[in-house]
């Protein structure tokens, strides 16, 4: 086969020069962006993983935010529920004190007054607002939930569910219904105690101890469920954060360039480009005409 310098040799050199510099340019871009798969054709089999990793990251970050949001809400509620619990404990102490036969009618009347104050306080607690929203109102968080005499509940028994894991939701609120009204009505219980203190004898006052204890128990059971949910949220948050790290490393494996590999590839291609250039220069210097 005749090798013609002008045509064959130069064409080959030209093709190789352009192939090598194109590859080199791609490698430079990879190094500067740090991304291996910038477009689908770079590695079509990675596209599915890259896109699903990105979705998982968005979801994971949202779940962490949601868990924290639930915790924030519950701890806001917790402060007020603690006050309710203290109030009910105090009511029980008053009942025990009031059941003492040696107490004068005036002393009992003082205690009854205190209970009346406590009813007002309980109503205020039940109508607590945080950031302009009633805490214990179910879905109707912009309507006064407790009012009237006897006190009625105007909220709903709905829990605002927040997604904290795919398909798994937790309630971010305690409804006024479950805390104050059902099965034990805290307002009625205090009212009964007040009536007993005002007009009853030690037997009727003592009889209030059990309902008061039930009421306090109802509040405590809410408290403990809050604690449980909050602990569960802590677990969820660390689970999601671990999962996020995992997903981010998968995304990086599929999408990001391995700099060590790319840089050594660059060194290789640069050597090859240099060699091609040297050969190109040398070819033109070799000619029969030099020897004529």
């Amino acid at each position: 086969m005749i090798i013609t310098r002008n045509a064959t040799t130069y064409r080959n050199l030209q093709t190789n020069l352009s192939t090598t510099s194109t590859t080199l340019n791609q490698l430079y871009v990879k190094t500067s962006t740090g991304i291996e798969v910038a477009k689908a054709s770079d590695n079509p089999s990675s596209v599915g993983s890259i896109i699903s990793c990105r979705s998982d990251i968005v979801k994971g970050e949202r779940y962490v935010a949601n868990c924290k949001h639930v915790q924030d809400n519950l701890s806001a509620s917790e402060i007020y529920i603690d006050s309710v619990e203290k109030l009910m404990t105090r009511a029980k102490e008053i009942a025990i004190a009031g059941a003492n036969d040696s107490l004068s009618a005036a002393d009992k009347a003082t205690l009854a007054d205190e209970v009346s104050q406590m009813r007002e306080e309980l109503l205020d607690l039940a109508n607590t607002q945080v950031a302009g929203k009633y805490l214990f109102a179910g879905y109707n968080d912009q309507t006064l939930p407790f009012s009237g005499s006897p006190v009625t509940y105007n909220g709903t028994s709905d829990h605002q569910m927040i997604e904290v894991n795919p398909g798994a939701t937790v309630a971010k609120n305690i409804t006024g219904e479950e805390l104050f009204m059902s099965p034990v009505n805290l307002f009625t219980t205090l009212e009964d105690l007040q009536t007993a203190l005002t007009s009853g004898n030690s037997t009727t006052i003592s009889a209030m101890l059990t309902p008061l204890e039930n009421a306090a128990e109802q509040v405590r059971s809410r408290q403990s469920s809050l604690g449980n949910i909050s602990a569960r949220m802590d677990d969820m948050i660390s689970m999601h954060e671990n999962a996020l790290l995992q997903v981010e490393s998968i995304l990086s494996r599929h999408q990001d360039a391995d700099l060590t590999e790319v840089l050594s590839e660059i060194a290789k291609m640069e050597t090859s480009l240099e060699a091609t250039m040297q050969v190109t220069a040398r070819v033109s210097s070799l000619s029969l005409m030099d020897y004529l």
């Binding site: 005749i2 689908a40 054709s41 990105r54 879905y139 109707n140």
Partner: protein, 465 residues
């Protein structure tokens, strides 16, 4: 016995021959870099011998013809391979445009889909919050606009293919006409006994260019004229008559037709080869497929969100049953897929925050609908895939098209290079080889000159006797 004067003429023929051969070599050297040039060879023959006195002796040499080094088989292969190369080369630009449109980066539509559903998830934590509602509205608008943008960008690719086709036709027609004219000139030249080497080179190159643009098969007719046909047998050039391409716009797409004599034939991507085939295939096969996939994605998201809002009985902040979140324009053609044109027409139905339904009771803290809408992103309603998985499938498909086209392009490029090398080894000019020939002919010239001076001396000797 021949006379000394005859011998002088014999010497002169040697000089002429060497001179002509040097001229041919010089021409070869001058054209060493000319595209499509075929090396020429001085065909030296011995002249007619004289018979005198019972002896037959030669009378020198002459250049009988100037031949052209070419291999018809390689030329044919080049024509065929150019068509393949042209097809992949022309498809590569619009295909990578499509790939860019179906981005997989952080700003891709799959991220918009994620953000849209994330906004609903966020709204679920504060159903009456204006900031959260604004977020839902904004992400919904961004999503709809991204669909419109993709649709628009695909239309732009179609438009650029159209104009590229339109601009290539005049050149192509010109080339066909030149081939026909060259057929005529070559025949006339050669009938007159001349060589038409340069014209033949020119014709080979033109045929190859035509094939790269529209794909052609060639045959040589009885008059030595090269005839070109499309793969489906329609004539491009028959003898000295060329057909011509023309284009018309039908529904925004440039349609190509070929006029042979008085008849016109409409051509599609299957009739043509070369660059036109590559471009038409992307325009008429690939893009409609991508468009339909994207339309379907837009349609499914829009209708599933809308349907969920109405079946769950969503109530907006004003206490009214919620309206659709997205609007779509149904296709005019009743036979078309219901999602036809959805990406172009998808839009947010309103920009009033109060019209977003977060729940189905109308209560201020009801977030039940938000959760259900956010859960739609896990729905596997398109080919068993979620929305983002479906988008990943569409983008992967585009990526595969690009990478397989790139591979075929580089393979056909290699084959073409190989063929050029083969052609060069037959037809190419090696300057070193020409230098050797030059030395050879120079020596021949010197020898013939010396011979003449010897004859002259002999004549002198004779005259001085």
């Amino acid at each position: 016995m021949a006379g000394l004067l005859t011998s002088l003429y014999t010497g002169a023929s040697g000089i002429y021959t060497s001179q002509t051969a040097v001229q041919v070599t010089g021409n070869n050297i001058a054209n060493a870099g000319t595209t499509g040039y075929s090396r020429q060879i001085a065909d030296v023959t011995s002249t007619t011998p004289l018979t005198q006195g019972g002896l037959t002796y030669g009378t020198g040499s002459a250049v009988d013809a100037i031949d052209r080094a070419s291999d018809g088989f390689i030329t044919k292969q080049l024509v065929a391979q150019s068509a393949t190369y042209g097809e992949y080369e022309a498809a590569s630009t619009p295909l990578s445009d499509i790939e860019q449109i179906l981005d997989i980066g952080n700003a891709s539509i799959s991220s918009e889909i994620d953000s849209f559903f994330d906004a609903w998830e966020q709204l679920s934590t504060n159903p009456s919050g204006t900031a959260e509602r604004q977020q839902v509205l904004q992400e919904g608008t961004d999503l709809a606009e991204h669909f419109q943008l993709i649709d628009q960008q695909l239309a732009d690719v179609v438009e650029s293919i159209n104009s590229s086709i339109e601009s290539s036709l005049p050149d192509l027609n010109d080339q066909l006409q030149q081939v026909a004219n060259l057929n005529q000139s070559i025949m006339q030249n050669e009938l007159a006994g001349g060589d038409a080497n340069t014209l033949r080179d020119e014709r080979d190159l033109l045929v190859q260019q035509v094939s790269e643009t529209c794909g052609a098969t060639t045959y040589t007719d009885n008059n030595g004229m090269v005839c070109l046909q499309l793969h489906n047998g329609l004539p491009l050039v028959t003898g000295n008559v060329a057909s011509s391409f023309s284009s018309t716009k039908v529904d925004g797409l440039t349609q190509i037709s070929l006029t042979c004599g008085n008849t016109s034939f409409a051509l599609d991507h299957e009739d043509l080869g070369g660059a036109l085939k590559g471009q038409l295939t992307v325009r008429d096969v690939t893009i409609p497929q991508v468009q339909s996939d994207i339309d379907r994605l837009a349609y499914t998201i829009a209708t599933e969100v809308n349907t969920l809002i109405s079946t769950n009985g969503g109530i907006d902040q004003n206490g009214n049953p919620a309206t659709d979140l997205f609007t779509l324009v149904a296709p005019i053609n009743p036979l078309a897929d219901p999602w036809d044109g959805a990406a172009a027409s998808i839009a947010m139905a309103f920009d009033d925050l109060a019209l977003i339904a977060a729940g189905s009771s109308g209560a201020t803290a009801d977030n039940s609908l938000c959760l259900d809408i956010a859960a739609l992103r896990e729905n596997t309603s398109i080919n068993g895939a979620t929305y983002t998985e479906e988008y990943a499938r569409i983008a992967t498909k585009a990526g595969l098209l690009v990478s397989s086209n790139d591979q075929r392009l580089s393979a056909s490029c290699d084959v073409l290079d190989e063929l050029y090398a083969k052609r060069d080894s037959v037809s190419g000019v090696s300057t070193d080889e020409e230098m050797v020939l030059l030395i050879q002919y120079q020596a021949g010239y010197e020898a013939a000159s010396n011979y003449i001076s010897v004859i002259k001396e002999m004549l002198d000797t004779l005259l001085h006797m």
